[in-house]
Amino acid sequence: MAVYKKTYRSYEGRMTPEWARFFVLTRYAWEDLQRRRFFTLFFLGTLIWPLICALGIYVRHNLSALELMGIRAASMVQIDSSFFLTFLGVQCMFAFFLNSFIGPGLVSPDLSNNALPLYLSRPFSRTEYVLGRMSMLLILLSLMTWIPGEFLFGLQSYLEGWDWFKANAGLAWGLFAGSGVWIVFLALLSLSVSAWVKWKPVAGGLLFGLFFVAAGFGQAINAVLRTKWGNLINISNLVGSIWVSLFNKPLESGSGAVFFRIARGEEIPVWMCWVSLALICLFCLYLLGRKIRGVEVSR
C-alpha cells in the first residue's frame, strides 16, 4: 500500500452508497466478536441442538436406521408444532444468553469514550447508528434461531412430502415471526440497557434481572392479588403466548415452548401480550433516543 507524502490532500474518489453505511458498524462489531474465543465456542455450541433436531427428523424418516437402533417409529417424537416450538424455545434461550454477553458491549463503549459526536458529525444519523449496532444482534441471533428452524422445516418437508408442507406451512411463518419478535425485543432491550449502563458486567446482569426478576415479580403479583395480570410483566410468558398464537395452537392448550411456557389457567389475551411487548419496545426506543445524541444537553 502506498503511503502518500506526509502532507494533507483532499479526497475526491468514489463513495459508498449512503444506505449501506450502517453496515460499517455491523462489520466492525462482527470483527471484534470473532476475536473472542468464548463467543466462538458458545456460538458453535448453540448449533448442536439444531443438529440433534435434524438428526431426529432424518432418523424418523429412515426405517432402516430405526430398525438398526431397535426403535419403533411410533415411539419417536412427532414432528409437529410442539416439536418446532420446543426447538424455538431452546434456541431462543441460547439467543438470550448470547445477547446478554454481546449486547451490553455494543453501545456503552461509545458512550463511555464520548465517541458519539464523532459518529454523528458524519453523514450518519442516530437511526443508522442504532440500526448498525442492532444489525449485529439481528444477524447473529437469526443464525441461531429462525435460520436453523427454517432449515429443519425444509428438511422435514423434503422427507415428508408436499402434502405435509402444505398442511404445515404456517409453522414456517411461526418460526420466522416468533424468532423475529424475540430477536427484535432482545436487541432493543440490550441496546437500551447498554446505553444507560456503562459497565458491561452490570448491564449483562441487569438484562438477566429484567428477565427473571420481572417474571418473579409477576408471579408474586398473581399470588398476592389472586389474578393473572401479573403475567403482563413476565416477558417469557408474553413471548410464549405470542408464539403459541403464531403457531396456530389454541392458547388454552397450556403448552407453549420450553422456557416460555404459559401456566394453565393464567393465559392472558394475545393482543394484550402484543401491546405489552410493543410498549416495552417503545420504551426502549425512547431510552435509546435519550442517550444516542451528538451532545448531551444539561437543562
Partner: protein, 315 residues
Amino acid sequence: MNVATQAPVIELDNLVVKLGDRMILKKLTGSFSGRAVGLLGPNGAGKSTLINTLLGFHKPFAGTARIFGHDVRTHARQVRSLIGYMPENDSFIADMPGIRFVRMMAELSGLPPAEALERAHEAFFFTGLGEVRYRNIGTYSLGMKQMAKLAQAIAHGPRLLFLDEPTNGLDPPARLRMLQLIKEIRDRGDLHIIISSHLLRDVEECCDEVLILKDGNIAASCNLEAERRANRNFLEIETRGADESFVAHIEQLGCRAAWGGNGRIKLVMPEGLEVRRIYQLASDRSVQIRRLNRKRDSLEDIFLKAMEESANGSV
C-alpha cells in the same frame, strides 16, 4: 482545487438557539468566508453551542445557519458530508488500534474500505503518529490523542474542518506541532478551518478571520489580515522640538496626523510613503524623533475591546 475566498463558508441569519428555556445564541447574524476562522469568547459565550448547531446537534429555535449554502437544519446530511470535526474532549474508542479507528471513521464518512485504510495511514503519517498507528488509542498520551482526533477529522478529506480547542493540554513542542499542521492544512487551500480556542495566540497565528462571542451575541468580528495591513500604516511618534507646524508639514506628505501634545503625534501613512521621509522631514525641521512605534493592535486588544463594548448580536 483552490478555495474561492469570496464565497461564504458559514452564513448566520438571526440564528437563535435555545437549550431548554435558556437562550444560548441570540439572533446571530454574519457571514464568514475566511480560510481559517477563529471562534473566540469567554466560557459560556456560546462557542460550543454554535459549533454543535453547525454540526446539526442542536436545532435552531429561529433563524438559519448555512454551511456552503446548505441549511444545517434541512440539509444536515449534506452538510455533514462536507465537514470534519475534532471535538474538544476525549472522543475515541479506547480498545481499538488507532489505524482501525480512523479507518472506521473514514468509512462512516463514505469512503470504501480500501481507500479508507489508505487515507487512515496517510492521516497518521501526516500527524506524526505513523509509528504508533497499530497501538490501541487508550495507550496514547494526551498529545497523541489530540493528533489522532485530528487524523480522524481529516482522513475523509472534508471541505470544512471544525477544530474545538485543538491545542488543549498539549506541551509547548506538541502545541507548536499542532499549529504547524493546522497552518499546513490551511495553506493547502483545499479546505476551510473553524478553530474554537481560548488561546488568542493560537487563533492569531492560524486564522485570517475572527468571530468573538459574548453572552450568545457576536461581540466582534474582524478580518485579521485587513487589521494587520491597517496596523502597518499606523505610527505613533514621540518628538522633541516639534510643534503643530511640524504636524502640518507631515500632512503635506499625504499623512493623516493628529497632534497629541507633549511632542506626541499619531499618524496614518499613505500607501507608498516610507518612514524614511518622516525622519528626513524631522531632520530638516531640526526635530528629534525620540521614539517611533508602529501600532500593534493585537488580537488581545481586539478581544478585550470587544468584551468591554456592549455586544449587539450582529457583525
